[in-house]
Each structure stands twice: as structure tokens, then as C-alpha cells.
């Protein structure tokens, strides 16, 4: 297990206060945040390149914040990889084992299996300059894993790659993780990267941990508006709880003059009368009702008339900008292509929409 407690960094241009994170053994943990949020400094502090003002770092049961990098057993794959250009692929891979004066024989089986999984066998005698982008990435990963570190640090592993290589490396990282279960802390600003690879995500925005959770926790149930905005989510409105509905036990919530009826499970915390919060309407959980079609009971709570303001073709789905009647809070609806084709939608058309219960999410 890796644990960071109370990490505090003061620089002229940057401040980090009391940062905590915990990474379980074998976890693929993402530290996800916008560029310039101080992720790199955290990473450098963990490696030991930067001495933080305060804070403790545990690797397994060992406190390492006072140790030099070479004694921490943390491997590091920087974004530019930094393969040693004057060493062959083989020498690069064995660098860590040799640097630690460990007997090669005890690692050979493990290293061989890594070489096989990463398909590096034919490249062993080459110099890094002769490798393609994807090959370099594979070698850098192998070099980092070879000495069996307690923690593998990855800095934006998929950023800046061509789409085809990106997919290859992403699959490789999955395979690697599944086969060897290294404990990984991956720093990234790309939530797609985190979604594809992470089994735990810490969202870190403006020097503050906003949310820690599984992939679904973060992407489906963002805890706060900054998280939602960082993830690029739309349809976030300021809402206010008006009252609890007597028979249904649902909450009546107003956004401007529009009123929604939202189920209890749409919120992690308690909703109380008069409480204000950020309300997220999931665009893919809003339906456009076809003319003359009966409306299911489960959809009856939130039905609105309005008209279509705009339609954007996103390739895999369409985004419809819906403007409720007499209201100034237009919201986005995401419609899969097959459904879109049956609906005969156009800009200016008057439509009726229904919000499923799953459409609502209350944030702190």
C-alpha cells in the first residue's frame, strides 16, 4: 500500500496544502486533474526529486520521505520516456536490476515474461533511436517494471500519441496490469485515459482533492461542480429543494421557475427543505417523446414541452439543445443515432421531453 499524508509544498508560484492519497496494492490509481494543478510536483515529491515542506510518504510499511530516490523502490515513466539513448534496449531494461546490484538470475524469468508480454524480444539489441513511438513506450514501461518496484509512476502515458498507438498502449497497459498487478499511480489531465485504465481515481483540482472513487463513482456520480466541469459534463444548474412530495416521497426541486421531481437516490447526502445545490441532468437519460406514443408511468414525473434550439452531430450520437417553454434554462439531450433517425427532429420543432429518474444527480 502507498500512502501520502499531509503533503505540503510551498513554492513561489505554487502552493499545495495537506494533500492525501492512498493507493492499495495492485491498484491502477489515477491522479486526475487539469494541467497546472500541481500533479507533477506531487509526482516529483513521491519519486524524491523534490523535497516537500511537510508530509509523510509510506511505501508499504516504510516511511520514505527522507530517503533519496534510489532507496524508495518507486519506478517512474516520464512523459518523454527518457530512454537512455546510449544503451541498447536490453541494457535499458536491465539498468534498474544492475543499479541495485541484484543478481540477474533471480529476475530473468520475470523479465523474460515481461519481454514476451510486451513483444520486445526482437528489439533487444537496438538503440532507442531506432524504435518507433509505440516501441519506445513499451521499452520504457518494461524498464520501469523490471526491478519489481513497489510503485510504478506514470506521467500522462497516453498523451500525445497517435490514435492507433494510443489504443495499442492502452491495451498493453491493461494486459500488463492484469498479468503482473503492479501498483500504479498515474498522473493525467485526460479523463478519457483515466476512464479507460483507472480502477480508482482521485480528482485533483486547484490544489484540492475533489473526489476519490471508482471510475463509475467519478464519472456517473461527480461529487462537486468542479469535478463535473472538469469532466466536461453539461447541464449543471443551481437548484433548490422546495418540499418533499407527500405520496411519492420525492423531492420537488426548482431551477429558476422550472420544477423537477427528483428521487431520493439522486443524492449522496441528505436533502433538506430550502437547501441549495448543483443539479446535474445527464443528457443521455433524457428522452424525446414521439408524438402520439403513450408515456410510461416511470416517466410521468418530469415531462416538459419546449422546442429544439440546435442539433449537433457528434458522430456516434446527436446532441439536441432543448429549450423548455417559457424558461431560460436550455439543456442538452444526447440521443443515440438509431433513435435519432426515428424521431424526425429539426431546429425549431416543438417537442415533449421526459427525464428518467436516472437523469438527476445532486452535487454538493
Amino acid at each position: 500500500m502507498i500512502r501520502i499524508e499531509g503533503l505540503t509544498i510551498f513554492l513561489k508560484t505554487f502552493q499545495l496544502n495537506d494533500f492525501h492519497i492512498q493507493i492499495e496494492e495492485g491498484e491502477f490509481h489515477f491522479l486526475l486533474g487539469p494541467t497546472g494543478s500541481g500533479k507533477t510536483l506531487i509526482l516529483e515529491s513521491v519519486i524524491g526529486l523534490h523535497r516537500p515542506k511537510k508530509g509523510k510518504i509510506w511505501v508499504a510499511e516504510r516511511e520514505v520521505q527522507h530517503l533519496p530516490p534510489e532507496q524508495r523502490e518507486i519506478s517512474y515513466v516520464p512523459q518523454d520516456l527518457a530512454l537512455f539513448p546510449h544503451l541498447t534496449v536490453r541494457e535499458n531494461i536491465l539498468y534498474g536490476i544492475r543499479a541495485k546490484n541484484h543478481p540477474l538470475a533471480t529476475y530473468s524469468e520475470y523479465v523474460d515474461s515481461l519481454i514476451q508480454v510486451m513483444r520486445i524480444g526482437p528489439l533487444l539489441e537496438r538503440y532507442p533511436v531506432k524504435l518507433s513511438g509505440g516501441e519506445k513506450k513499451r521499452v520504457a514501461l518494461l524498464r520501469a517494471l523490471a526491478p519489481k518496484p513497489k510503485l510504478l509512476l506514470l506521467d500522462e502515458p497516453l498523451t500525445g500519441l497517435d490514435p492507433s498507438i494510443k489504443f495499442e498502449i492502452q491495451q498493453l497497459l491493461k494486459t500488463l496490469h492484469a498479468s503482473f498487478r503492479p501498483t500504479v499511480l498515474c498522473v493525467s489531465h485526460d479523463f478519457e485515459e483515466a476512464y479507460l485504465l483507472g480502477n480508482k481515481i482521485t480528482v485533483f483540482i486547484h490544489g484540492k482533492v475533489e473526489q476519490v472513487g471508482t471510475r463509475d463513482d467519478v464519472f456517473l456520480r461527480p461529487r462537486s461542480k468542479p469535478v463535473a466541469l472538469f469532466l466536461g459534463l453539461k447541464n449543471i444548474f443551481r437548484g433548490k429543494a422546495i418540499c418533499q412530495e407527500k405520496e411519492s416521497n420525492r423531492w420537488r426541486v426548482s431551477v429558476n421557475n422550472l420544477q423537477f421531481s427528483i428521487p431520493h437516490h439522486a443524492s449522496l447526502g441528505e436533502i433538506t427543505e430550502g437547501k441549495e445545490f448543483d443539479l446535474y441532468l445527464r443528457p443521455e437519460e433524457v428522452m424525446i417523446i414521439r408524438d402520439g406514443k403513450p408515456i410510461k408511468d416511470s416517466l410521468k414525473w418530469n415531462i416538459f414541452d419546449g422546442k429544439i434550439e440546435d442539433i449537433v452531430d457528434r458522430g456516434k450520437h446527436h446532441t439536441v439543445f432543448f429549450h423548455p417553454q417559457n424558461e431560460e434554462i436550455p439543456f442538452e439531450i444526447s440521443i443515440p443515432n438509431y433513435a435519432y433517425r426515428n424521431l424526425d427532429l429539426f431546429v425549431g420543432k416543438g417537442v415533449k421531453v421526459a427525464l428518467r429518474d436516472e437523469a438527476f444527480w445532486v452535487m454538493e
Partner: protein, 258 residues
């Protein structure tokens, strides 16, 4: 095309200017006189003295310059800017002023103590080394810093995370990667030390058979109108310089990793 020819013409003029200057050296020398001057013990002494002194001065410049260059290239610390500026002192200061400063220094109580209890510098062999060292240490540090700057510190970061100490990371990674640049810096510094005149003559004097390096020997030979010896020494200096420049070129042909 007029523009192109004008530019190339200017380049040719520079070449003719220097080439003419060198060619003129052969005008006033006979093969016999040349040979006699070359094998004359005083000439051979100057050559030997110059090579030894310049090599020692360069060695000292590396010993102190390489770690300094590393510090200036890799770390942030108080006074870094001031140190960086002081490296240029020997470049902006006239060599004779540098030598004179040493003479003044060895007249201070500290300087006198060093001379009486340690090594004699004034008008002695160590004075040559000191003068040459003073002239090239700043330059050597600057040049070596530039070659270290070219190597991303990330290599060392990775090497350290893989288990190397900072020393190991330096000699296994940064040193081999910057070797080409470091070697070129050393060669250039050495060539500058060989040709050093002003500071050396001021601090170590121009004593034949003792402190007479090649540039100083040129000066004394010329002063006593021994033209053939002058020319021989000039040609040797030029040859050494050309070898050094060729050496620097060769480093450029060494394996490039990027």
C-alpha cells in the same frame, strides 16, 4: 545573384586575409635555418614546457570546472547568477591585468604566506600553470555547462528512480551522454592555455629555460630579432591549434544518440 556573390566574396576575403598572413611566414625562412631553430634546445624546451603546463592547467580546470558546471546546469541556489557572471571575468579582463592582479595578491599577507609556506608562484613554473588556469577555468566551466545543459535532467531522474545514486547516475548516464561536448570543451580550453601569453608573462616572467612557454619565446625571439625561431614557434603554435580544432571536429563525428 549579386547578393549571393557579395556574401561569398566577403567570406573569401576573410580566407585570403588569414591565408596570406600565414603564407607570408614562409617568405623569410630557409629550410636549413628552420630546421636549426626547430631542434634548438631552447625551442624544444619551450614546446615541452608549454605542453606540460597547458595540460596541467587544463586538468585543474576540469577538476574544479566540471562539478561547477554541473551545479550551474542542474541546481538552483543562492548566488548562482553571481557565480555565472564571474566566470566571464577572465574573458573581459585583459590577460596582463589578470597577471598583474596575481602579482598584487602575492604581495598581500595571505599571498606571502602561501608563497613562503607552500608553493612559489611568482617567476616560477607553478606560476605558469596558475596563470593559464586563471585564464581558462571560467571558459572551461562555461563550455562544459553548455554541454551538460543539452542533456535532459530527466535521464538522471529516471536513473535514480531505478536505483542509481546521484554519482552513479552521473557517470553512467549524464557523463557518457555529454562526453562529446565535454571533450570539445576540454580541447578548446587546452588550446587557449597553450596560446596564453599576457597573464603568464606577467606572473611567471620570461626566463629562458625556466618559464619561457612558446608564446613567451615568440615574444623574446622577436625582441632579439631571431626571425627564424619566431617563425618556427608560430608555425608550431598554429599546428597545435589546427590539431585541436580538428579534434573538436572529430568529436562532432562521434556517435550521436538523438
Amino acid at each position: 545573384m549579386g547578393f549571393r556573390y557579395t556574401m561569398i566574396g566577403a567570406a573569401l576575403c576573410i580566407f585570403i586575409f588569414y591565408f596570406g598572413l600565414l603564407a607570408s611566414l614562409f617568405f623569410s625562412v630557409s629550410p636549413k635555418g628552420f630546421w636549426e631553430a626547430l631542434v634548438h634546445p631552447s625551442t624544444l624546451f619551450s614546446i615541452r614546457l608549454s605542453l606540460i603546463a597547458a595540460s596541467l592547467a587544463t586538468f585543474l580546470a576540469i577538476v574544479i570546472g566540471l562539478p561547477s558546471a554541473y551545479a550551474l546546469s542542474r541546481y538552483e541556489f543562492t548566488g548562482k547568477q553571481i557565480i555565472d557572471t564571474f566566470l566571464e571575468i577572465p574573458m573581459i579582463m585583459s590577460p596582463i591585468a589578470l597577471g598583474a592582479s596575481f602579482l598584487v595578491f602575492f604581495n598581500t599577507p595571505l599571498g606571502e604566506a602561501i608563497q613562503t609556506r607552500g608553493i612559489f608562484f611568482v617567476f616560477e613554473f607553478p606560476g605558469i600553470i596558475l596563470a593559464q588556469f586563471a585564464t581558462i577555468a571560467g571558459l572551461a566551466t562555461r563550455l562544459m555547462k553548455a554541454s551538460l545543459d543539452e542533456i535532459s535532467p530527466r535521464y538522471e531522474a529516471v536513473a535514480r528512480s531505478l536505483g542509481s545514486s546521484s554519482w552513479q547516475a552521473f557517470y553512467r548516464i549524464t557523463f557518457p551522454l555529454s562526453f562529446r561536448g565535454l571533450l570539445a570543451s576540454v580541447i578548446l580550453s587546452w588550446a587557449k592555455a597553450v596560446g596564453e601569453f599576457g597573464a603568464t608573462v606577467t606572473l611567471a616572467g620570461a626566463m629562458p629555460g625556466k618559464t619561457e612557454t612558446m608564446p613567451i619565446a615568440i615574444f623574446t625571439a622577436l625582441a632579439s630579432a631571431r626571425i627564424e625561431k619566431t617563425i618556427v614557434l608560430i608555425l608550431i603554435l598554429i599546428t597545435l591549434g589546427l590539431i585541436a580544432l580538428y579534434g573538436v571536429r572529430l568529436t562532432g563525428r562521434m556517435i550521436r544518440y538523438d
